[in-house]
């Protein structure tokens, strides 16, 4: 019972801590990674970020909420991909399910790149504890939003964050253009 009271105490403290550090915890640098896509081509996060913001989504074929979330994210991808937004769906399936990934991805009509995290090194580097887990990274390589689990409507928050990022990058591009023309 002492443990129980102690754990409850910890949770109350976490409530307080989470509200106080929420904004500070953002903008930590995203760990870079290299992984192979379904064609066997190596993809590096650093290179992909040169094109715009990237959403890294950890998922597996057997995870119902992950598949549901990626279905919703496909719609987001369709809308913003041309503006520079990219999704990297990091598959954490074991050898048992990995053969089914390609046919499932194509069968469900997903267009974004899917990477296989064979030894779960990316999963561990991002300190992921459960899937689905999403990480939104700005072009500078900073984590601007993270979220674990999926509830219907979560994709709306991601949409807003992406729009903010895309607006910011187009504004900074315009500013740079303006500075150049002034010179």
């Amino acid at each position: 019972m002492r443990k129980f009271i102690f754990i409850i105490g910890i949770i109350f403290l976490l409530f307080a801590a989470s509200s106080s550090v929420r904004s500070d915890a953002k903008n930590s640098t995203a760990p870079n990674f290299i992984a192979k896509d379904l064609n066997g081509t190596k993809v590096e996060l650093k290179e992909v970020l040169k094109g715009g913001p990237v959403l890294v989504s950890f998922w597996a074929t057997w995870c119902k909420p992950c598949v549901k979330e990626l279905g919703e994210l496909q719609k987001v991808y369709k809308k913003y991909h041309e503006k520079g937004f990219e999704i990297l769906a990091v598959d954490v399936d074991g050898p048992r399910s990995v053969s089914k990934v390609r046919s499932m991805v194509k069968g469900l009509g997903w267009d974004f790149p899917v990477l296989w995290d064979e030894s779960k090194d990316i999963y561990r580097n991002y300190q992921v504890l459960g899937i689905p887990h999403t990480v939104l990274i700005n072009p500078a390589g900073d984590i601007v939003y993270t979220h674990t689990t999926y509830r219907p409507g979560d994709e709306e928050i991601i949409k807003k964050k992406i729009e903010e990022l895309l607006n910011n990058s187009s504004q900074s591009a315009e500013e740079k253009q303006g500075e150049k023309s002034e010179k």
Binding site: V21, I34, G40, S99, S103, G107, K120, R151
Partner: protein
């Protein structure tokens, strides 16, 4: 096999305060703070997973905690994991630094000293991995080096594996290489050896080929196990795994074949290899409870799966699995169909049906299971969810029948919380002497505390049962009281 612990605390305190101390510390001091203490190039990440069950009947509690910490500077990374279980799966108190490493990583090269995970091919020869739901972790402790280029990958390793909560003293040595021969062909090869105390030298070697054509992927792997010391020569064995995937937009078809004969590469209770089991991995609780347990000594089989999206809002899935032994006696079979439909963005309906036979279980049972999920969107952020699972069991040629059923009802508010009430009942008590519960009811509240903490509080009772993944299963104890799960990233 000889076992030794990693590192044991000199005096075990009654309660692992250390885990809570770390949790608290990092909750209040997130990493931008830590970074500012040092040069900008230092980066730190950490996470904590806490699980606590308190059973009201006998006042017994179960506590599990994993705390991971990693620091990166330029090309260098070091990390450590503290793990505590009171009790562990064997009823003992366990706490130690179970995982620590130092690694150097460049684009072309990686060297790890300490603990690491590794997989060769599709796991026919080696699969070292962690699955906390199964309380499974067979990480290696030693050294691993990898060379990577556009056309060539090579991994060389040596290390002692973890088995349960102990370290095995018989080290493994191995190598795995891949070469991109052309745009459509990649070839690979693996080798692994160990000298097992009181048994002798055992080695595995194999090769694999991967073909990628437009709309078609093929993969083939062969592995052979032998025992050159001459002892237990009947233990020699081999295994084959083949897969093909055909796909085009809106349709995908996968066909797989396995044939494993005395391929089990073991040391005591630890199995080093874990190839594809070729059975559907279910997310539904009742279907997962009767999953097939991989038998590398004697099995062969097939699995076919098709996914089709005929309309934007409709998706269909069909799966067939069939496994026999080498005398062609059926061990496991399953037919599973599933359809999902989005109705005008108001609701999502999902219905499935499974018919499976698992001859590994007593009474040679057959199972018939309809499953159904409904999500109704009340607004952009609020939704209701209803889930139904019914499993009808027939044993001893239909002489013994009963059912199990799970119904759950939930409300979710994105992104902050969800509340779910789950009822499970069974009629199994009518078929045999029964002293326990006949139905179980549990209320769970899942809360997102900011972006970095997820808390689940459950109150009520939950039935004991098998949890399976990748052909490996473990028994989870029943709950009758309260449960706390806290996932934190810092």
């Amino acid at each position: 096999m000889r076992n030794r612990p990693f590192f044991v605390f000199p005096e075990l305190p009654e309660f692992p305060l250390f885990a809570f101390f770390l949790l608290l510390l990092f909750s209040f001091f997130p990493f931008p703070f830590s970074v500012s203490l040092f040069a900008q190039d230092f980066k730190f990440t950490a996470s904590n997973q806490l699980e606590y069950d308190l059973n009201s009947g006998d006042n017994k509690d179960i506590f599990h905690d994993w705390f991971d910490f990693a620091g990166t500077y330029d090309l260098y990374q070091a990390g450590i994991r503290y793990e505590a279980h009171q009790p562990d799966d064997y009823g003992n108190t366990f706490q130690e630094f179970s995982y620590r490493y130092f690694q150097v990583t460049t684009k072309a090269f990686q060297l790890i000293a300490g603990n690491y995970y590794a997989m060769f091919g599709r796991g026919l020869i080696l699969r070292s991995y962690e699955n906390r739901d199964l309380r499974f972790d067979n990480n290696l402790d030693g050294i691993k080096g990898s060379l990577n280029s556009v056309r060539f990958d090579l991994t060389v390793l040596a290390g002692s594996p973890r088995s349960g909560y102990l370290r095995i003293n018989d080290p493994l040595q191995g190598a795995d290489g891949k070469m991109v021969v052309s745009k459509w062909l990649t070839l690979g090869g693996s080798f692994l050896r160990t000298d097992i105390t009181d048994f002798g030298l055992v080695r595995l070697f194999g090769g694999n080929a991967s073909f990628v054509f437009p709309h078609l992927d093929l993969y083939a792997e062969y592995a052979r196990k032998d025992n050159p010391s001459g002892e237990n020569i009947e233990k020699d064995g081999d295994g084959v795994y083949l897969s093909s995937s055909f796909y085009q937009t809106g349709f995908g078809l996968t066909f797989e074949y396995k044939d494993y004969k005395r391929l089990d590469f073991t040391n005591g209770t630890l199995v080093y290899n874990n190839p594809p089991a070729l059975t559907k991995e279910h997310a539904y609780t009742l279907l997962n409870r009767h999953a097939y347990v991989l038998n590398l000594y004697d099995e062969k089989g097939i699995q076919a799966q098709a996914v089709w999206t005929p309309k934007e809002k409709l998706s269909l899935l069909a799966n067939y699995s069939y496994t026999t032994d080498h005398k062609n006696r059926m061990i496991f079979s399953e037919i599973y169909e599933e359809a999902e439909y989005d109705y005008k963005n108001i609701a999502t309906l999902k219905g499935g049906f499974s018919y499976l036979k698992n001859r590994q279980e007593t009474g040679l049972p057959s199972y018939l299971a309809p499953v159904f999920d409904l999500t109704y969107y009340l607004s952009e952020k609020n939704s209701l969810a209803f889930s139904f699972e019914h499993l009808w069991t027939s044993k001893y040629d239909g002489n013994l029948t009963y059912y199990e059923q799970i119904i759950s009802l939930g409300f979710a508010h994105s992104p902050n919380y969800s509340l779910t009430l789950t009822d499970e009942r069974t009629t199994e008590w009518k078929t045999r002497a029964w002293s326990g519960k006949k139905n179980w009811l549990i209320l769970s509240l899942d809360l997102a505390l900011g972006e970095n903490h997820n808390l689940t509080l459950s109150l009520g009772s939950r039935r004991a049962g098998k949890v399976c993944s990748g052909g490996i299963c473990t028994d989870r104890p029943a709950l009758d009281g309260g449960e706390i799960k806290l996932l934190s990233r810092f």
